[in-house]
Structures are given as C-alpha cells and as structure tokens.
Amino acid sequence: MAFRDLSTEYAGRGAAMFRLALKTGALTVFTLGFYRFWMKTRMRRYYWSAIRPGGHPLEFTGKATEMLIGFLTAVVFLSFYIGLVNLVLMFFSFSLFKSEAPAYAVSFLGLVPIFFFAHYRARRYILARTRWRGIRFGLEPGVKGYVWRASLWWLVTLLTAGILWPVKTYELEKYRTDRTFYGDQRFEQTGGRWSLMAAMKHVWLGVALIAAGVGMATAGDEPIWLIAAAMGGVWAALGLAYWKAESFRRLSAGKKLGEAGLRARPRAGRIVGIYLIGALAISAILTALVAGLLVLIGLLFALLDPEVISRGFDDFASLAALPAWAATALGLVAYFAVFLFWGVLREVFITMPMARHFAESLEIVNPDALLAIRQRPRDEFAEAEGFADALPLGDGI
C-alpha cells in the first residue's frame, strides 16, 4: 500500500503563546533569571506540540532540571576560563600593546571553538528529547569533528568575503544531518556542496548594485548613483529572505530518511511579510505600552504633588516630590516591563508566525517507509545544553 505524502498542520495560537510567554517571562524576571530553564522547557513543549506532521504533534520531553544541571556543570568549567583567562589576557594586552582590544580579540577567538562545541551539544540534547509518533530523534556523538569543520568553514567563509557562505551552510548541515537519527533510521543530506550557491543570488545582486552605485557616485562625483546603492540595499535585504526560504527548500529536499524524504516550500514573500507586519505590530504595541506607563507615572506624580501641573513640567528635576527609592523602583519596573514585553511580542509576532509558515510548508514524502522504523535507546546526556545556555548563543530552537 502507498500512503499520500504527509502534510504538516500547525496548531499554535497567538493568544495562548502570549499568555505562556508572558507568564514564564515574568517568572524569569522575578527569579533573577533562575526560572529561565523552566521557561525554555515550557516554551519548547508548546512550539513542538504545535507542529503536527501527518496530524500528530512533535513532543519535547526535556526537563528543566536537566537543563539546570547542565548549566551548573558549564558554570563550574567555564567560570575558570572566563574569569582567569580574561584577567590574564587583559594584563598582557595592556602590558604589551597598551590597549584592551587584543585582549577582547584573543578572548573571543578562544571562545569560538567552545561556541561550536556548545552548538553541537545543544543540538544533540534537543534531538534526543524530541519525539514524533512516540519515536525519539537522536544525534550521534561527534562534536570534535564538528568543531574543527565549523572552524575551518567559517575561516574559509571569512577569507572569501562571504562568497562561500552557502558552501559552509551546506557542509555543516550535512555533518549534522548525516549523524541525525529518527528511531533506528539514519538521515542523509544529499544535494552536493555547491547546491545552495544559487539560493544566495539575490543577495549578491543587491551587493553588486550597492558596490556599483557607490563606485559610480564617488568616481564620477554624481550623487544620483547613490539611489542605485539604496535600491541595492533593499534588494539585498529581500534577497536574504529569499535565501532563508530557498536554502531551507533545497536542504529539505536533500534530506533522506531511508526511502522517505522531505519537501518544503516556504515563500520569501511570506517571510518578508512576517517581518514587516511583526515589526509594525511590535512597535505599535510597545509604543502604546510606554505611553500607558508614562500616563500612569504622570497620574502618580499629580497625586503626590498636585502643584506639579500648575508649575509646569520642564525636566526631571521638577519632579522632586518623588522620593529617590520610588523613582528607582519606577525606573526598574518600566525597564523590565518594556524588556519583558519586547521578548513576548517577538515570540507572538515573529517566531511563531515564522514557525507556522515553515511547518505548514513541510511535507513528508513516501511515508510508508516510516512504518519499519523502530525505537532508539534513550540518550542520557546529562550535560543537556548547559554550555549553550551559559554562552550567549542566541536561541536556535
């Protein structure tokens, strides 16, 4: 028997995500960041369960306590490096070079391999704690090979002024995918080293347009050419959205899981739309929030010191009626409120619509091959993603 290709439903809702993100985000602020492991776990459970290939949700089975232990482990090891090495570097930097820049540069370079290490380990943890149809995903151990390959390909990318970025993307994706399992079945990334080059074409066109525009403007002293450069900037920005969609499409098409495969058709226009509408919505709501806070503070002032209105409001010195601790408290509340809402709104208006679009464009080809797949043993992997959490890696969910 042959099944139809499986399409993917998306069950995430803005309102539910808003509540969850606000609640867990507020708890994280109140606990000075300690709750963030629970926040991450709960957000992931939601995001995973929203993605439903063939109508059945993904499940994230990670536990916050695992992440806490992993984080503590990373702190034990990394704090020595970060504390002592940075201090010694700063000393030599000022002794030998009379400047702090070399210390920052060396310190950053020393961290680069640890970033790649953390990245691979985090991927391993996340896959080991992801299930679909009750079957675990997994990533083979192989972090050494990843660290040197990633260092090499990043170096190549830098040396070629970014021209080989698509090759780097493909090579690293292939290294990870070829070690990824669904149950007992190994994934394979096909397509070839150069297969993503064309996905970058609009970025290059945009960059070429900028270079040509700036070149003509300076060479011929005709500022009119700067318009071409500005157009090139817009073109490159749209080109990045095209790259995001097209590279995902090509990489998905190249992924094989035995006889089964993937197909994805995200659209660049939609990605641009999500960013534009998201940015508009976020700035509108944040502006309203700040305005509301200011009105509230103004009312408070008027209550404390009714003369403030007749006296006029020139600068903050005219608000002397407010005791210093209250001003500090208000400032902190405003700071954290804006920060918190910024994070929450980004989830609701950018991350989730993006996840929805990519998920809904994803199909599983020839799903009968999945029927033969068996469970894989649990990967205990006690360190979880501690290193990734301790270093500011950004959240690659």
Binding site: A11, G12, R13, A16, L20, V29, L32, G33, R36, R42, M43, R45, Y46, S49, A50, G54, H56, P57, E59, K63, T65, E66, L68, I69, L72, T73, V75, V76, S79, F80, I82, G83, L84, N86, L87, V88, M90, F91, F94, S95, L96, K98, S99, E100, A103, W132, R133, G134, I135, Y182, G183, F339, L340, L370, L371, R374, Q375, D389, A390, P392
Partner: protein, 391 residues
C-alpha cells in the same frame, strides 16, 4: 453527572516501539480508561494514574500518559471523553517527582564554590599580583581608556564632559599638588584634571590620573578640604588600587554574565552584582587611601581633620550609608572615617605639625573659578577646618 455510564470512542495510540500510529478503541469507566489495541491486547489505565502532557498547543484534544509506561501516548480527540477526563481525572496535572535532587544539589554547590573561589579569591589575588607587574605605560593606557569612558558617560547630548582649563585655576591646583609632594611615592607623573560636572566626587584612575568634579570644589568649605580629598585620591594611585580594580573587573564581569545569562538584558543585574562585590573589596582600599592621606597631609603641615570635616558635612547633607545601602557603598561608613581623621589631627597637633592653609585666598578663588563659573566662595580666611576638629 453521567459518570456511571461507560463511554467509548476511537483514539490514536503510540506504543513507543515503532513509528506507527495505532487506531484504538478506548472505553472510559468511572475508575479507569481501557485501551483496546489492534493486536488484541488491552491496557487498563486507572483514573488516578492518568497524566496530561503539559503546555500542549492543541487544547481541544488531550495527550495522555501513564507513569507505568513512560513511552506510551494516547491522543484523545473525542469531545465528551476529553471533557469528562478534564473534569474527573484526579491527578491529570500532577507533576512527576523531582529526579536527581542530589545531583542538582551537588553541582549547585560545586558551581557556587567555583564561582566564589574565582570571584572572591583567585581574581582578587591575581589582580593584586599582576597590578604590581603592569608596566607604567600599560597602566597609563588603561587609565586613559577609563578616563575617556567616564567623560563620555557623564556627558550630555553625546558630548563628553568639558575639562576645566582656566590657567589660574590650574596653577592653584599645581601648587596644591606640589605642597602634598606625592611624587616620590609614584612611578609616574600625576595628572590632575577638573571636570565640569555637578557630582560631589573625585576619582583616581590607573596610571596616575586623578579627576575632581566641579561639584566637589563648590561643596568644599576651604582649600584644605580639597587638599585632603586630593591626598586621599593620591593614596589610591600610590597603592595602585584603580589598576587592581580594572583587572578585577576584567575577570569578574564575564563570570557574572555567565551566571545571569542574557536575562533581561542582564546589564542592570550585572551592574548591581558587580557593585556588591566591589564594595567588599574597596572598603579596605578606602581605609588605606585615608591612612596615606593623613600621613601626607601631616607631612605637608596641613590638617588631616579636613578630610573629616568634609565627610561630616556630606553626612549631614546626604546621611550615612548604613544597613543595606552600606553594602552597595564603596566607602567605609563615614562616621568611622571622621573618627580616624580626628585621631590623625590630634597626633599631628601633638607633633606640632600645623602650617598655613593649602592655598591663599587668591589661589582658592582661582581654583573655584577653574570651570569659568563664578561661585560665591565662603571666606577663605575661615579655612582652618582643623580648629573645629581639634576643639
């Protein structure tokens, strides 16, 4: 309630062995949920054992698990069964017991110990050792970087704070520095600048840079008080405290960033935590600089009590830092410092080391006008703070 009747429906079951979704018949009785699997076997899940997967996006359906079979999942979409389970299953949202308590505790203590070791022992010890080996030119570079940063941070509208350069004022300042004669103790020339800012404060920076704010010149009642503050800052320079601080900061800020993560931008918490740590270190550094100042002032025939009278006025105006605030304050409690200044004054008077004020009336006026602003100076003749303290 219709709990007594059994309800039946179809649902999706995942056994956790193969990537196959089983279509099963489920029967809900008051005390249990029976699952009839296609291979003929049946599972009986007691109502008290049913758990719902938390934080699911699709709230209309229910994903059930059972503590006895951690891999199995039952996905129930039937509205009536879902509603009845939500209303009646007694432990649907009970959390699994916390595992690994010991490991969490162990690693937690380990992390605390290693961070404490690094921030409170290794980093300060290394900073103290290395500060002595940093060549003077390196120290100067460190100081210049800090100086520009402070000017930029206190500036308005992106412009750094102005440096006050009135020639007569600079001459008065130079005369005061010459009188204190700290030169022989220092590996580099001292570079004293007045910044045009209201802060009642003065800073020492690595490499012999000392900064006095206009606000302090205005707050001081007489030149001896300014000389006392200057001597205190020179004490920091002689003890290389700013260099130690800068090296220590390089070590501890990264570690703190590690702990708090990118929580809420991190900066506010980071700054508070760093302030708390620094306050612990600096109390002894401040006392050391005070001692140095008392010695230098006595040597120069200036009243050490001037440091005390100045603090006394600050305390009357701004209050002492007691309690919680004291932890955040980098200076030892003022009362203690005033006492110390008085004791030094008595010792100086016994030794007969009292001389003329640090500046004459004309110099004092020039110093106060160094930023161009003409301020109403208290009469310079009343400048003997020592009398007050001694009497």
């Amino acid at each position: 309630m219709t709990v007594a009747t059994a309800l039946a429906a179809f649902a999706d079951f995942l056994g956790g062995e193969r990537a196959v979704v089983e279509r099963v018949e489920i029967v809900l009785a008051p005390d249990r949920l029976t699952i009839h699997r296609p291979d003929g076997k049946s599972l009986h899940w007691l109502a008290a054992d049913l758990r719902e997967l938390p934080d699911q996006a699709d709230r209309t359906a229910l994903v059930l698990t059972h503590p006895g079979d951690p891999l199995a999942r039952l996905m129930v979409a039937d509205k009536e069964i879902v509603a009845r389970l939500r209303a009646n299953a007694p432990a649907l949202h009970r959390r699994p017991p916390l595992e690994n308590k010991r490991r969490i505790l162990g690693w937690g203590l380990g992390a605390l110990a290693s961070v404490a070791l690094i921030i409170f022992v290794l980093v300060p010890v290394m900073a103290n050792q290395l500060a002595a080996y940093l060549p003077p030119s390196g120290e100067k570079a460190l100081g210049d970087a800090t100086y520009e940063r402070i000017r930029a941070a206190l500036g308005d509208n992106m412009l750094p704070v102005e440096v006050c350069e009135a020639p007569e004022g600079r001459a008065a300042l130079a005369a005061m520095a010459a009188r204190l004669n700290a030169g022989p103790d220092l590996p580099y020339a001292v570079d004293i600048a007045v910044l045009d800012h209201d802060l009642v404060n003065a800073f020492a920076m690595p490499g012999g840079r000392v900064v006095i704010f206009r606000g302090l010149l205005e707050e001081a009642a007489n030149p001896d008080e300014v000389a006392a503050v200057l001597a205190h800052e020179l004490g920091h320079v002689a003890n290389r405290d700013p260099t130690r601080d800068a090296l220590r900061l390089a070590g501890s800020v990264g570690v703190l960033g590690l702990i708090f993560g990118d929580f809420a931008g991190g900066t506010v918490v980071l700054m508070l935590a760093n302030q708390l740590i620094n306050a612990q270190y600096s109390q002894s550094a401040e006392a050391g600089a005070d001692d140095y100042a008392h010695a230098r002032l006595t040597e120069a025939g200036l009243p050490p009590a001037a440091l005390g009278t100045f603090f006394e006025r600050l305390r009357d105006e701004y209050g002492d830092a007691e309690g919680l605030a004291a932890h955040f304050s980098t200076h030892p409690q003022m009362t203690a410092r005033i006492e110390a200044a008085r004791a030094a004054q008595e010792a100086a008077e016994r030794a007969g080391r009292t001389g003329t004020p640090a500046l004459d009336a004309g110099q004092w006026r020039a110093l106060r006008a160094i930023c161009g602003a003409v301020v109403d100076a208290p009469v310079a003749g009343k400048a003997l703070g020592g009398k007050k303290a001694g009497g």
